[in-house]
Symmetry: C2
C-alpha cells in the first residue's frame, strides 16, 4: 500500500470547500486511521481564487474540471459539481476510464446513470462511492452494504430531503403557508433559488432509488418511483393532521414484496400523515432520518444532518478513507450483472388509509352527496372534520375526511367522482396515512 492517497476535487462549492477544510484540519487524525496520508493534489472550480480557509500551496488549481481530470494523477477524484448530465457526468466517466476511483455526492447522476457508471467501474476495477449522495452525514449506504449485510431488507422509510422537512416543520410551528415559508427557506439558504428538485420530491426520489438498489440488490430504477412533492400542502392540512394525532412529512418509502404472485418493489415519495408519537414524526427541520427494517435485525433508525458543508464532507471523507484502507465493495452491493430487474408495484394497488381535504360550498346536501359517493365506492370513513368557522376567501368550507385502508384505485375513483360535484370548489387533496 502506498503511503499517500492523492485526491483531486472537482467543484469547490459548499461541500467541496467543506471537504477541503476537513482534510486540512483532521490531517493527522485521518492518516493514523486511514494508513496512507490523504493529500489533495488538485482542485477545479470556476472560481479557484476565492479564499477557502485552507493553504492551497502545492495544490494545482484548474478552472476546468475536465482538464483537471485529464491531467491529474490523483488516485481519487471527488466529484462535487452536481447534476445528472454535463460536466459532472463526464468527470465521473473520464475518471473511471482512466482507472481512478470516484467519490461523489451526486444523487441525480447515480439515479440516472449509476448502473452504467457502476458497470464500467467494476470492469476497470475502481471504486464508485457515494455515501454523501444519500442523507448527507448519515452513514446509511455503509449501514446497508456492510453493517446490515446479513439482512434481507424488508422496508426503508426515510426523511430524505432536508428542505421539505424544514418547510413542513416551519409551516407547523408558524402557521404560515407553503409559499411564505419557502421564501424564508430560500433566504436562509435551506432552499435553492429553483426549489423544484427539492419541493417536488425529485431529490428524495434520487436518494430512494439508490437506497432501494443497495437494500435489495436490484437495478436502480428511478423511473419506477411514484413522486409527489409538498407544494399542495396547506397550513390547514397541518393543523387538521395535528388535531387527528398526526404530523405531515415527505417520506421516501421502499418495500420489497416477494412472497406472492405480485412480487416487486414499491418505491414512492410523497407527503404522509404519520402518528405524532412515532420517532420519524420527531425528526424536525433540516434533519434526515432513515428507518431500515431487516429480517434479522428488525427495525433500526439512523438520524443526522442530511445536508450542509461539513456533514456532507464527513460522508465524502468516509468514502475516501474506505478507499485508502483498501475496501472494495460493489457499488450497489453485488455485481451489476446480478442486480435484479424487479418490477415496480403500481400505485393503484397500493393499500393505505387516506386523508382527504375538500373545499366545498357551504350549502345543504353537500356532505350527503360526498358520503353517498364514498358509500357507493365501499369506502368507510374513520373521521370527518368540518370547521364551520374556517371558510376560504370564496366562502367555501373545508371538510377533512380520513378513511380506513383500501386499494388506492378505490380512493382515486371516488375522488374523481367527488371532484365533479358542483359544490366541490377545488380538486380534492389526498394525503396517504402511513403507519411508520
Amino acid at each position: 500500500m502506498s503511503d499517500t492517497l492523492s485526491i483531486a476535487i472537482a467543484g469547490l462549492g459548499t461541500v467541496g470547500t467543506g471537504t477541503l477544510q476537513l482534510l486540512d484540519r483532521q490531517a493527522r487524525w485521518l492518516t493514523e486511521r486511514a494508513g496512507p496520508a490523504l493529500r489533495v493534489v488538485a482542485v477545479a472550480d470556476l472560481d479557484t481564487g476565492r479564499d477557502r480557509g485552507v493553504n492551497m500551496d502545492g495544490i494545482a488549481c484548474y478552472d476546468d474540471a475536465l482538464k483537471m481530470v485529464a491531467e491529474t494523477d490523483a488516485d481519487v477524484v471527488v466529484e462535487l459539481i452536481g447534476g445528472s448530465e454535463g460536466i459532472a457526468r463526464k468527470v465521473c466517466e473520464t475518471t473511471i476510464a482512466r482507472g481512478r476511483h470516484v467519490v461523489t455526492a451526486n444523487k441525480a447522476l447515480l439515479a440516472h446513470h449509476g448502473m452504467e457508471l457502476a458497470g464500467t467501474a467494476e470492469k476497470v476495477g475502481v471504486v464508485l462511492a457515494y455515501e454523501a449522495a444519500v442523507a448527507g452525514g448519515i452513514p446509511i449506504i455503509k449501514a446497508l452494504r456492510e453493517g446490515l449485510v446479513g439482512n434481507r431488507i424488508v422496508r426503508i422509510t426515510g426523511i430524505l430531503n432536508g428542505t421539505c422537512n424544514y418547510i413542513l416543520s416551519a409551516m407547523r410551528e408558524t402557521g404560515k403557508e407553503f409559499d411564505e415559508v419557502l421564501a424564508e427557506a430560500q433566504a436562509l439558504g435551506y432552499a435553492e433559488a429553483d426549489p423544484s428538485f427539492d419541493v417536488d420530491g425529485v431529490d428524495a426520489a434520487h436518494k430512494l432509488a439508490l437506497l432501494a438498489a443497495v437494500a435489495y440488490g436490484c437495478a436502480v430504477n428511478f423511473d419506477g418511483i411514484h413522486i409527489e412533492g409538498i407544494r399542495h400542502i396547506t397550513s390547514r392540512d397541518i393543523t387538521c393532521a395535528e388535531e387527528l394525532g398526526y404530523r405531515i412529512k415527505l417520506l421516501g418509502i421502499t418495500r420489497r414484496v416477494d412472497n406472492d404472485s405480485n412480487g416487486g418493489v414499491e418505491q414512492r415519495v410523497h407527503p404522509c400523515l404519520i402518528p405524532t408519537g412515532t420517532p420519524l414524526a420527531h425528526v424536525e427541520d433540516v434533519l434526515n432520518a432513515v428507518a431500515v427494517e431487516g429480517d434479522f435485525v428488525g427495525p433500526t433508525m439512523f438520524e443526522g444532518a442530511g445536508a450542509g458543508a461539513f456533514p456532507t464532507a464527513s460522508a465524502v471523507i468516509a468514502d475516501i478513507v474506505d478507499i485508502a484502507r483498501g475496501l472494495r465493495i460493489f457499488t450497489f452491493g453485488r455485481p451489476v450483472a446480478e442486480l435484479e430487474k424487479v418490477p415496480s408495484l403500481p400505485m393503484e394497488n397500493h393499500f393505505s388509509a387516506y386523508y382527504i381535504r375538500l373545499s366545498v360550498a357551504d350549502k345543504p346536501g353537500v356532505i350527503a352527496d360526498i358520503s353517498a359517493i364514498l358509500r357507493d365506492g365501499d369506502i368507510s370513513m374513520e373521521t370527518m372534520l368540518q370547521h364551520g368557522h374556517a371558510k376560504t376567501s370564496s366562502g367555501a368550507v373545508t371538510v377533512v375526511i380520513t378513511t380506513h385502508e383500501m386499494r388506492e384505485a378505490t380512493m382515486t375513483n371516488a375522488l374523481a367522482k367527488i371532484a365533479t360535484l358542483d359544490a366541490v370548489e377545488e380538486p380534492p387533496c389526498m394525503i396517504r396515512m402511513e403507519a411508520v
Copy 2:
C-alpha cells in the same frame, strides 16, 4: 482471495444459534455480497446434540471449545461463550495465537482485556472484531471507525442496556416498583437470573468503554468509568420526573474534554432525567440507541435492537463479511501503541443539575432545615415538589427538589449534611439531569 471463508462457532446459546441460522438461511445472499462463500465447519457447545433448526451435516461438533480451537483450520472463530475470563478468553487468545480471525460479542472480555488482545491480533495480523458486543444489531462500531471516521467525536450518549431500559419503561407504564418489574423481566427472558451486570450498570459500562476507545482513539479504560445502576429508582421518581417533564433512562455518556488544563475523558453510566421531548426519551423497552456528536457531522443517532438472537447475529455476520471482503481495520481505530492514555475526569468536578428525592418526617421545620443547607452550599433550587398525600409506610413524606447546575462536589457535600438531619429518614436519592 479464497472462494470459501470457513467459520467455527464457540458457543451455541441464543446468539450462536441465531448466527448459525442466519448463515444457513441467507447463504446465497451473503456469498453474492461477501465474495467467498461463508461456511460453518465447526461448532462447540456443552450441548451440541440439541436441534438448532439447521442441517449440521459436515459441521464438526465439539463439546470443548478449546479443543475445537486447537484442532480447527477455520479462518474465523466466532466467540459467543461470554465472560471476561475463563474459556472465552482462552478461545480468543488461542485463536489469535494460531493466526485466525476472531469475531466476538463479548463486551466484558474486551472491556477488561481488549487492549492486550488487540495488541496480539495486530502483531499476528488478524482481525479482532466486535460489532455485536455493543448495542446489538446497531452497526455503531462501524459507524464510529468508518462512517464517521472524518470526525473528532465530541460526545456519545447511549441507551446501551436493554434490560434496564425495559425495566424503566415498564415501571413508567405500569407504576410498579423495581423488584416486581425485574421479576417479570426475568420471567420474560429480558433479564438474567443474576441480573446484577445489567441493573447495576456494569454491562452498559463495558460497552461504553469500547465506544470511548474507538471514538477518541484512546486506551480502553473500564476502571475509569463512574458506574451507578437503577436499583434505587422508585416508581415515585418516575412519576415525579414525568410531572417535571422528564423521563428516567440509564445512560452511558462519554465526552472528550481537550481544550483546557483539565483535559481528559468523561465516562459515566448512571440513571438520568432527560427531557421528555428529546429523541432518547422515546427509545423504549429493549431498544438501544446511541447518539454520537462529531465535530463535522454534528449530532447523529443510531437506534435498534440492542440484544436478542437475530439482531446480535446480524452484527456478528457483518464482522464476518468484513473479514471475507478483506477489510482490515485496527481494533480500536488506530494502532494499539498509539492509543492515548487519557485521564478520566473525576465526578466531583462534573457539572450538572440534580434531581433529589428525600424521605422526611412530616413535622414543622424540616423544609426550613433542608433549605438552609442548600442555601449555605450556594445551591439554587429550580423546583420543589411535596405531595402531602403520598406518605411512605412509616408516615414519612417524599420531597423532591431539582436544582440549577453546579459542581457535583457541591451537591454531594450538601446531601451529606442533609442526610444527618434527624427528620431525613432514608439516604437521599440523587439523579443527574442531563441535557441530551
